[in-house]
Every structure is written in C-alpha cells, then in structure tokens.
Symmetry: C2
C-alpha cells in the first residue's frame, strides 16, 4: 500500500501556488497574476494555469494573500444583538451593497459575554478588516474612538460625535415628535416612556421624547421608566407600573420588543389596549405588523441604513472623503391598532 502523502488526518493537503506553477510549467508569479485576473496574461497560459489549478484542487490562501498585499477587501460588522430582527434587516442592506462593491463581510457578534463587544472588535481588527460597521454598539464612545485610530468606522443606530467616526441613524427628533404628536392629537397628556436603558441610542431617544413632550406643552407630564431593548424589560416595566397603581394613558416604548412585552403584561392584567391604555413602539419590525399585535410604531428605513453604512464606510476606506458623515434618515409613523383616544375618566386616580 502506497502512502498517501496528500492527506493529513484524512483531509486535503493544501496545494500552494508553487505546486500549480510546477504543474502548469510556469513561474509562480504568473500563477499569481492569473489568480488575480490580471489582463496581462496570454489567454493560452491563463487556460493552462487554470486547468492545472483545477486539477490540483488549488485554493488560494487568503491569509497569505492578505499578508503580502496588505489588503483584505473585507469589512467587519459588529452586531450587538443577534436576536433583534431590527439588526438583521439592516444587514440585508449591508450585504446588498458590499456584494456590489466586492467587499467581503465578516460578522462578529457578542452574545452578552463580559467585554464581549470589545473582544469582538479586537478580533476583527486583528484580522485586518479594512473598515468596521458597528450596529447598535453599547461600547463606550471612548472605545469606538480608540478603534477609529486604526481603521474607518461607521456607527449605526447610535449618535457619535468623534470627527473620525461616521454615524447613521434615523432622525430621532422627528421620530419621537411623530409619536408624541400622534398621541397628543388623540387627546393623551400622560404619555410615559419606557426607555432602552443602556442600549445604543436609548439616551438620545429618551432626550428627544422629553423635548417632544415639552414642545407639545406636556413638559409637566414627562415620565420615564427604565427598561432595555427587550420584551422582558418591557414586561417588567409594565408590571412595575401596574403595581404602582399609577398608570399613564399612553406608553411610548423604546422599541417594538419593549412594546410587545408591555402589551403582554397589560393583557395579562386584563387591561385593554388601546381601550385603557395606548402603546407605541419604534422600529417597525415584522412583529409590529402581525394582526394580533397591530402595533402603532415608527418605521426606520433599515435596509437603507445598511446600504448607506457600507457606502459611507467604503468612501473612507478609499479615502474619497475625510469629513465626518452624519446621516439622519427619515422615520415615519405607522398607525395601527394599539393607539386610540384616552379612556374617559382615568382608570386609576393619581
């Protein structure tokens, strides 16, 4: 029995460019040119090389290529949260234009580990991605700025003021104003906000809510209950509200997940939405459109945000632009069934 030198642990041995060159009877440099689709190679030789590569089952080693060329043509994406479809829908846009621009996309998530996001960013950095898109990062701004010393960074769904960092989000002032005005227009005054806690952009949304309330002449009614961007947080906040006995007539939830959790809890308590209390979410994820939820919410142009993120990033990578980009996309109000006029005679007296 002949020793099979082509297998290691039953797997293929890596075929190198050298091997292909030998097989095709040309120099290694020529093979390299062919692999990079260089125009300065005769059709004949190109065919020879390609055939040899095929025969040997050659796969270019991207790592070696990256090391030598100092380019990876790859962008990294930090996904704060794999569970929220909001982010997934942004990714649709990211993939769409990254594919067109011929950039690879590497996703790093950070499922709640300690120092998760930071570690993920480091990994991506060490892999020499050429730019980074941070989607809904909870990372301290200082860490983002530090990373931007290395490569271009665009932050999505969270404001960022560093000159070296680009940012993309919806127009929060407008979005929150649409919410408050819709509710106020229905006759609500006691509009409470369950916030996104330490989540990306939560502080902004909270501040804009307050501003919108004041603008509507409802400055005295500003009331914020702490939450997080999850359905569990929404349910918990609603439970606390219920327990306190001091219910508002309307709730503006930090996002659709929070709204969903809150509704769940109110249902459980036997309250009617919007009969007893109105609820508005934010994001317009598919969940909101389900008839059983029919959540009034704010639509964010998610795919557009993803598309824009890649374009913005690539501009920086290619050095086409040097001044910071601050894109603010237009949100829109989607009225469904969770909002209505306030109950006549408040449910619970103050």
């Amino acid at each position: 029995m002949r020793l099979d030198t082509d297998t290691v642990k039953n797997r293929k041995r890596r075929v190198t460019m050298e091997d292909v060159a030998r097989e095709a009877g040309v120099s290694r440099a020529l093979v390299s040119l062919v692999m990079r689709d260089s125009p300065k190679v005769s059709e004949k030789r190109r065919a020879r090389v390609l055939a040899a590569a095929e025969r040997l089952g050659y796969r270019p080693n991207a790592i070696a290529r990256h090391l030598a060329s100092r380019r990876t043509h790859t962008i990294g994406v930090l996904l704060n949260e794999l569970h929220n479809p909001f982010y997934a829908e942004i990714m649709d846009g990211v993939y769409e234009v990254a594919d067109g621009l011929d950039f690879h996309v590497l996703i790093g998530a950070s499922s709640g580990r300690t120092g998760g996001e930071r570690a993920t960013v480091e990994t991506l950095l060490d892999l020499r991605v050429e730019g980074l898109i941070l989607i809904g990062p909870r990372l301290p701004a200082s860490a983002v700025v530090a990373a931007s010393a290395w490569i271009p960074i665009v932050v999505v769904a969270r404001p960022m003021r560093a000159p070296q960092v680009d940012s993309i989000m919806d127009d929060e002032r407008l979005g929150t104003r649409l919410v408050v005005e819709h509710l106020a227009g229905l006759g609500h005054r006691r509009i409470l906000h369950i916030d996104g806690g330490r989540g990306a952009g939560a502080a902004t949304r909270r501040a804009c809510y307050a501003a919108a309330m004041r603008n509507a002449g409802l400055g005295d009614e500003i009331r914020v209950v702490p939450g997080d961007y999850t359905d569990v947080a929404g349910a918990r906040a609603a439970a606390r509200l219920l327990a306190s006995g001091d219910l508002p007539t309307a709730i503006f939830a930090a996002n659709d997940f929070v709204a969903t959790g809150a509704i769940d809890q109110l249902d459980d308590a036997g309250l009617s939405v919007p009969g007893d209390i109105s609820i508005v979410g934010y994001d317009n994820i598919f969940l909101a459109a389900l008839r059983r939820l029919a959540l009034t919410t704010i639509n964010q142009p998610r795919a557009d945000m993803g598309r824009l993120a890649v374009r913005t990033l690539v501009e920086r990578i290619e050095g086409t632009r040097s001044k910071p980009a601050r894109h603010r996309l237009a949100p829109e109000l989607i009225v469904r069934d969770t909002t209505g006029p306030p109950r006549v005679g408040t449910l619970v007296r103050r």
Copy 2:
C-alpha cells in the same frame, strides 16, 4: 512642524514586533514568546517587553501569526438566516462554549444572494477557519461534503449522512409524533402540514409528519401544503387553504414563523383559533410565548444545540474523534392556547 511619520491618512502606522524588540532592547523572538504568554520568559523581561509594546501601541498582526503558525483558533459559522431568532438562540450556545475553549467565532451570513451560502463558505474557508458550523444550511449536500474535504464540519438543524460530517438536530420523529399525538388526542383527524419547502430539515419534518400520521392510524389524512420557513409563507399557505374551501381541523406548521403567519391570515378571515382550527408550530421561539399568540409548539433545546455543535467540532479539530457524530436532542411539547378539540360539525364540508 515636524513630519509625523507615524500616520498614514491620519491613521496609526502598524507597529511590528521588530519595533517592539528594538524599543525593549531584546530579540524579536523574545517578543513573540511574550505575546504568546510563554512561561519561559523571565518576569523582568516580560514586563520590559509589555511596557515597550504598550508605549508603541503595538497590536499583533493576527494574519501574519496565522500564516506562520498555520493555526487560526477560529471557527466559522454559516448562518443561513439572520432574521430567525431560532438561529440566534443557537448562537448563544455557540459563543458560550467557544469562549470557554478559547476559539474565536466568525459569522458568515448569506442574505439571500445568489450563491450566497456557497460564497460565504468559500470566504470562511479561505480565511482558514479551523472548522465550520453550518446552521440550517440550504446548501446542497454535495457542497457540504466537498467542503468537509478541507476542514471539519458540523451541520445543525438538518440531517447529513456523510461520514466526514457531524450533525446535530432534535429528534424529529419524536417531535412530530408529539404534535400529531397531541392533536389526535384532542380528537383531530384532518391534520394538515404546511411544510418548510426547501428549508433546512424541512424534508425530514415532512417525512416524519407522514410517518407519525400513519402511526396514529391517520394515513389517509396525510396532507401537505408547500411553504417555507417564513411568516409570509405561512400566511400565503393559509390563504390558499381558505380559498380552496377545504380546511383541515388542525394545522401543523413547519415552524413558529409559519404558524404565526397562518394564524394572522385565519384571524383576518374571521376564523377562531383554536375554535375553528387548531395550530401547532415548531421551535418555541420567544414569539410563541406571547400571550396574544400563545402558540402550542415544540421546544427545541437551542442553546444546547449550539453548545454541542462547538464541542463536537472541536473534537474533530483536535482529532479526538474520527467517527461521525449524530446527535439527536430531545424536543418537548409545549401546550398553549392554539390547540383544542375540533369543531363539532366541520366548518366546511368536503
């Protein structure tokens, strides 16, 4: 003004090991040892080197390291679908044990692009990840087998028979049997299946459904409507059913998304669930637990699946095991409010 040679396009110049060695007054090899936490370096020198690295802002170049060591300590994950929380929850388990085993995780998604999954796998392969976890891949089995010639692969949520490929999923025979028996126990006979189309594992689920029906003496009632793993597909299937006028008394949906879409459509048609028709999903994603849905479904131990996937993969990478692993985790029936006894006197006559 002094020319700052340390910036390129306003970004940090890469500091190399050589630079650190010079700064610390030691050899490059020593720096390398320090970076790899080798025990055979005196505390004193280690400190010197670390200080120098810190001072220079040195970041090891993972690419160069990988090339030289021929190890990346990274596993790749192909996520067929970023939108389905089912997969996100598997990832929780993946991260948990990968972190513990000190493996990096790189996610490649493939948002519906043509040849998306294939291209993503290639990218991951070229990056020399040491093993691949394919979660719910739609890739042809032949492509999976081809990839397994290069590196260890474990497939999650889809059966795979290749000797070189490991697979992890729930026990579908049991899961579907629980569904059918639950429904049959309530008195249903006309139990229809909206399937997952060409989705991962859909064929298995379909076949097991048929087997379970026969087992329950309901072989004559087997009926499958084509779908896909999305809520849209569920709604569409329900719409067709409604239009046909030939409704079953119970629907077993391919997954919770499909069930949700179907319910949405039935609601719209004014039918009552489970009054007029019972519905069961599969997966038990958070959606199913919402009170407004309260979907009866099958729970899959998602985090366990993710954990097991990494362990199984690492066994192969380390060469600890060579025979194929075929893990089948136990699913369980979660009864909620979408199932009940069939309507007395069928809604629509055959």
